[in-house]
Symmetry: C2
Subunit: 326 residues, 2 copies
Amino acid sequence: MMISEGILTLLKRGKKSASGGLSADLLSSSLNYPLSSIYDGIEELRKFGYEIETQRGKGYRLISVPDAFIPFEINYNLKTRILGKILYSYQTLKSTNDLAFRLAEEKAVEGTLILAEKQTAGKGRMGRKWFSPLHKGIWLSLILRPNIPPVKAPGLSLCTSLALLQSIKEKTGLEARLKWPNDCLIGNKKVAGILLELSAELDKVDFVIIGVGINVNQSQNDFPVSLKRTATSLLIESEKKISRVELLKSFLKNLENIYVNFKSFGLKYYREDIKKYSTLLGKKVKLQYGKEKLKGMVKDIDENGSLILETRKGKRTVTAGEVTLI
Amino acid sequence: MMISEGILTLLKRGKKSASGGLSADLLSSSLNYPLSSIYDGIEELRKFGYEIETQRGKGYRLISVPDAFIPFEINYNLKTRILGKILYSYQTLKSTNDLAFRLAEEKAVEGTLILAEKQTAGKGRMGRKWFSPLHKGIWLSLILRPNIPPVKAPGLSLCTSLALLQSIKEKTGLEARLKWPNDCLIGNKKVAGILLELSAELDKVDFVIIGVGINVNQSQNDFPVSLKRTATSLLIESEKKISRVELLKSFLKNLENIYVNFKSFGLKYYREDIKKYSTLLGKKVKLQYGKEKLKGMVKDIDENGSLILETRKGKRTVTAGEVTLI
């Protein structure tokens, strides 16, 4: 199955003009396709979920586009120059991060985007699973190749969260917040999570895979019992169905802006924003980090994206770990 | 070509006993091989470089073993429990690190060792090449899976250097020293280098590839002109030909000891040793780190293996970079 991008482009243009419909004859002559290809193409588009009205004497009119990860729709008016310009979209994948990692090793270019409508083994941090049901969320991975040492990589995770919080605000009005190091919360429920993986020398990252899972259109009943108390979706919080494609495009745009500045100036450019959005600053927390357990007050997030904890034994800088509010 | 490990084992045992030779008949009956297999096996061993004397009436006597990366020789009396127990030895590889990385992704077990007699594209840091001529050095990669966050990985590079310095001392009497972060020097010439690569999440290393290149038996003329001033070998420095196999086995043993303690106690267990061997402590240096350039006095190596620099603007902690003495 292939989408006739020619027909679709004309229908989209037609949608914007007042006149409306485009006849099969007009499409056929504009695209230099035989009429039969136009009929087939329209049917094909309908199968993909495009709603196309046929009015006698007025021809075809595009009523709505499906909210699906169709490369054409994602690229349409996408305002980025790096992120998502190369894009692989799948109905089902085990894990977008795993595929992205393999592609990155095979020299896939910076900005390559992997999307899946469903993941069967979506990855969370520390070997956990990320629940990724069909059509309900955005499950994506991006390949980046910043010229940074690995110690700066946590900053990229925070930048990704920041872009996501901005896009959630833009597209839903909701004020999500960042739980260091990699979760986005609404209230105290997880609406999105970020999983960075990297391949690096000690001096220099070879590539970073940014995995993002966003719970978009799940209803309460879509979550398994084990997640109901801790997870939420944008639909649940906003009580509106959200366009995943529009949210995705906004996110790619916001992340690209931030990423370009991050590469030039480091995290300090966004540190105040990140601190503003953070749920942990000033809070007492427990933190597990490898085998180590710490308790203390969160004082700051530093220029590498590390958490500064004030413990009984003095200040500690923590690059990653599992944080729980006390 | 395959080595008859049965024949070789008996010849090695025979070498230790005073009596000496083992007749073809004795080998044949001990191993339950036909006589023709014994003759073929002896010839095969000679092709691999084993020197085997045939004395009338006394049978075969093993005079010397080749200094080649024959798995049997490396495993023979190897005193490790993790490192090198699984081992792949190649005549020629592009890069042992690249192969190790691929094997690690395919779930190769911790301790897996990759050896090459020659690398055609041996990797140094920062995309540089490591000159790896046939039979002259030890070009190896080890797969480790420590449960540590990536920020602790530089410590592993220092531990590897430490093991190497110990083995060089043991096997040659030479006092090599460590130039942070990853070179081993004799005088001010490079005798070995270490290249760590890792695959990780922000919290946790998935695997680390430790690549090691040791210049063992190159003479001055074996080095290209571009390296003559900056590189040396154990042969040049000690004026003796060194057994690569014995040096390798010693290194695996020393590294395993250190690695086990590193996993339990972190770098602090070896920090004083590392500082003792370091060429940079107390010296004024220039350091390039990503885009950043620093100047200062080297004050310390911290518990993550980072360098503590005293600059005009105060103390700086540097995780990696290119250091030059001023």
